[in-house]
């Protein structure tokens, strides 16, 4: 590599990092605003926040192309936002408004965004994994070069659907990456009480899938390690299981006070926060507190605008619902 090429790469990486930081901060502030709106009863039902896991969303988007399909569980706001769903469409969906990304019909757990290839937003633990195998199957059938990323929590690892999905994906060599976001608690039960092994990626072994396992706080590491699996899927049509260790700072949902873990444990993880790590990387590129403050202000405005937009939008009346049952 020449010096000029090296400098160009460095400049590109700085831009990437700024983009990831912006995405992660956007998710963080979006989720904080959602929690506030929930306490004001503007958002109802279940609300599962992504705070603490943002580097996985930003890293995954950084490792993929826009045409790649993303499917995930009900903890879906962060991934949708990183994939390109606007803060307005996210917040309006949480408020149940027609301007939301699913017209307010899905709510927190069912974000969908077809133009951005975000395919849900699913509420039955592990049950969306066979669907993700189906989108990967379609890509291989058509040879369209797309890769499917299927996200799920550690709670899904023991579900039967997860195993059928892995088994079929490997049998038919489909272009898919299964990403287990292991935040160590399936709702309020620690992993040690739900799984007979400590390493969730071991589940790949029985089906002959490739696997990897790493911490999910450093967005650059997440991107680079996922890129290996994405490349394997795209170029060799070989599926992988990736376990990313992470930590959610909030409860399982808003109704969960998190009494099953200590304050010290939560604080310890906050010291390894993905935003702090990204800020250290950015400092290496000469990005200082003032630049970060400008980004923070921009994000703050974006989220405030989204809340206002959601507040002022209308909802679909019940009479319109039958239109969504069937295609004529």
């Amino acid at each position: 590599m020449t010096r000029i090429e090296g400098e160009a790469l460095q400049a590109q990486e700085k831009l990437n990092l700024l983009k990831y930081y912006r995405q992660m901060l956007g998710i963080r502030r979006l989720e904080e605003a959602a929690a506030k709106a929930y306490s004001q009863q503007k958002i109802g039902g279940f609300l599962h926040l992504y705070i603490g896991q943002e580097a996985i969303a930003a890293g995954a988007v950084g490792a993929t192309e826009h045409g790649d399909y993303f499917l995930t569980s009900y903890r879906d706001h962060g991934l949708a936002y990183a994939k390109g769903t606007s803060a307005r469409a996210c917040m309006a969906e949480l408020f149940g408004k027609e301007t939301g990304c699913s017209k307010g019909l899905g709510g927190s757990m069912h974000f969908f965004d077809k133009p951005n290839n975000f395919l849900g937003g699913w509420g039955i633990v592990g049950a969306h994994m066979p669907l993700a195998v189906g989108t990967a199957f379609a890509s291989k059938y058509r040879g369209d070069g797309r890769v499917t990323l299927c996200f799920y929590g550690d709670g899904a690892v023991s579900q039967g659907a997860a195993h059928e999905a892995m088994s079929l994906a490997s049998l038919w060599k489909l272009p898919i990456v299964f990403i287990c976001e292991n935040n160590m608690y399936s709702m309020g039960t620690p992993l040690s009480r739900t799984m007979s092994v400590e390493d969730a990626s071991q589940k790949a072994l029985a089906y002959g899938l490739e696997r990897d396992r790493f911490e999910g706080n450093d967005v650059l590491l997440v991107r680079d390690r996922l890129a290996v699996a994405v490349k394997r899927a795209r170029e060799e049509s070989r599926p992988s299981v990736i376990e990313i260790r992470c930590y959610r700072y909030r409860g399982h949902s808003m109704s969960d006070p998190g009494l099953y873990r200590t304050k010290d444990e939560v604080e310890e993880y906050k010291r390894k926060d993905c935003l702090l790590i990204a800020e250290r990387h950015l400092a290496g590129y000469g990005i200082g507190p003032e630049d970060l403050k400008a980004i923070d202000d921009e994000v703050k405005n974006e989220i405030e605008d989204a809340v206002t937009f959601a507040d002022e939008s209308g909802h679909l009346p019940a009479e319109r619902l039958p239109d969504f049952n069937y295609v004529d």
């Binding site: 049950a127 066979p130 669907l131 990967a136 619902l321 069937y326």
Partner: protein, 326 residues
Amino acid sequence: MPVVEYREALRQAMEEEMLRDPDVFLMGEEVGFYNGAYKVSKGMLEKFGDKRIIDSPITECGFAGLGIGAAMVGMRPIIEFMTWNFSLVAIDQIVNHAAKIRQMSGGQFNCPITFRGPGGAAHQLAAQHSSAFESYYAHIPGLKVVMPANPKDAKGLLKSSIRDENPVCFIEGETMYSDKGEIPDGEYTIPLGVGEIKREGTDCTIIGWSKMVNIGLAAAEILATQGINAEVLDPRTIRPLDEDLIVASVKKTGRCVILEEGYPFAGVGAEIAYRISQRCFDDLDHPVARLTSMDVSAPYHRQVENSIRPTPEKAADLVKKVLYLG
């Protein structure tokens, strides 16, 4: 008009649709090398290759879900269940996913998928292989349920199901695959939601679908020898239901007997009877009557099993009862 077996009519429908649309594929247990557990897909692997005729492992939840995901991005999968009894392993995929995708996504994603296979009882298959589950799936908004009674309907309705933009549960009669019947020359489709009068009559409407149509027709023959002229109505699709055809027939005859292979409690017949009561109350000369299987799990012994099912004789007796002749 050519005479073909029910299984051949189904195969023709799938082959024609696969030739018409490269996004159609068939997946299920034993559909390829084995030529189908009931030989419905006989020869299709040879004709279309293993890219489009796909033998799956025994993973109903997995391959039903795979089909749903593929349908979300525009494929038109035909997913075969070796029997609808096994579909319960995949019911979460069908009910909680396929049926709800369009609504949950605010209309962004459709799910043009056909789940098909035999339903209902065959012969001495005992409790776990003999259930008629149409009421389960017809209960769900977002799903369509299709139940053809003869080769002509099987072909025309399956072609429409494959072309439909919605998830369709296409339930074949497990004992009907060798039934023969005329089908029209050339290509044809039968729209979903349009029933058919299988026999015109004036004295009582007998409603049945799938194999109950033949029970109804046989009952009508018995009744004809006694001077009773029964009408046999086949809705052909349970959802959407051709309610207008039912109402017109019952208004004409003033009496209705519903034949159903499934269990009585919360069955499809209960829903049809309710609708008739709403729209034909003043036209009825007798309350709507139902003949279902006995409210028990299927027994193994041949005679015992036969005794719990609707038969032409039982159906004819019930018609006479609603005519105050029994």
